[in-house]
Symmetry: C2
DNA sequence: TCCTCACCATCCGTTTCGGACTATCCCAAC
DNA sequence: GTTGGGATAGTCCGAAACGGATGGTGAGGA
């Protein structure tokens, strides 16, 4: 008698990370998110405690609890969870798309382009560098990860072009 | 004795749109959002009823109510509201940035790049076209608006490049 | 006159957010 | 061994966001 739950983007992030990593505690998920997908899709850490529990209740994850010490909970995918993830990746992506960029918002509402550009260039330069290091640093990585990172780099370069034009 | 409220991105969108448009009802705000900033930063319509009310209570907006008919509420900026908007545009943008793109998320978690690319190209082609029409269609527009639109177009072109590489 | 459709607004249950708070563990210094 | 500090790990809860269901109002046409 599994509980019925609906799966949102957050759910799939959890499933996806567990698929990549094999097994993890919420705390480890938190680190994984921070180091990967969190760069463009943030998830509050408290969700990474409640969401796996929810998914486990619905049979997508199995839960193993340490017997001693901190009694951490380790989660891993069940067959059902793996299935759900596969189905999701194979289905067309929702149209819903969002670029929540406070810098662009300020620009839209009349901030001085030149002053904003200086600051934004700095921000994006930093981020670009970080992405490029990741790309070179990590040797082997799954193809999807690498491609998503490439996309990120592409967008950062686009930001550099854009703000550079305004900076002069 | 004004009520104390904290201003978030949504608040500034409301202030900003009223600054651009002079005066508006929540319903008009909804349309303005849909036609402009909503393209990259969505706001649920119900917020566009509650947020102006909240801002009015705190003295950032003034409220004028139609005496007959539907008794719609028209909002406009007070000096205080205009001030808050100016301060915000002049302050450095928060680092917090997000690209919520379900397509990239699926790519990250292992979707077949080629199949995803076909679908994404279509989506982005549509959006790009729409932006370009806006750019050409609207004659005069505030500089910020035009620049933000240019940024959007830049990113869409980047998407086209990216997914095209994967599409072959 | 009545109907219908577009316009307009509110409500409210659910989900998400994010920050404050607490607990635990490890190791080093005393 | 005991104390203390920093990294690790988890919980909680009020506030905000979400989004869909619902209902009213008015203009124009049949």
């Amino acid at each position: 008698m599994k509980e019925q739950v609906s799966l949102g983007a957050t759910s799939y992030v959890v499933l996806g990370l567990l698929d990549l990593g094999g097994e993890a505690t919420p705390y480890e998920l938190k680190q994984l998110v921070a180091a990967s997908v969190g760069n463009f899709w943030s998830i509050p850490h408290s969700q990474l405690y409640s969401e796996p529990a929810r998914l486990a209740r619905a049979g997508y994850l199995s839960e193993r609890r340490e017997s001693g010490g901190r009694r951490r909970k380790h989660y891993s995918l069940t067959a059902r969870g793996r299935r759900a993830l596969k189905d999701w990746t194979a289905s067309p992506a929702e149209r819903h798309w969002e670029l929540r960029d406070p810098g662009l918002l300020k620009l839209f509402f009349g901030a001085d382009p030149e002053r904003l550009a200086g600051e934004q260039l700095e921000t994006h330069r930093g981020r670009l560098k970080q992405y490029e290091q990741l790309m070179n640093g990590l040797g082997e990585m799954p193809e999807g990860t690498r491609l998503a990172l490439e996309a990120g780099i592409g967008h950062e370069r686009e930001y550099m072009r854009f703000w550079s034009k305004l900076a002069r």
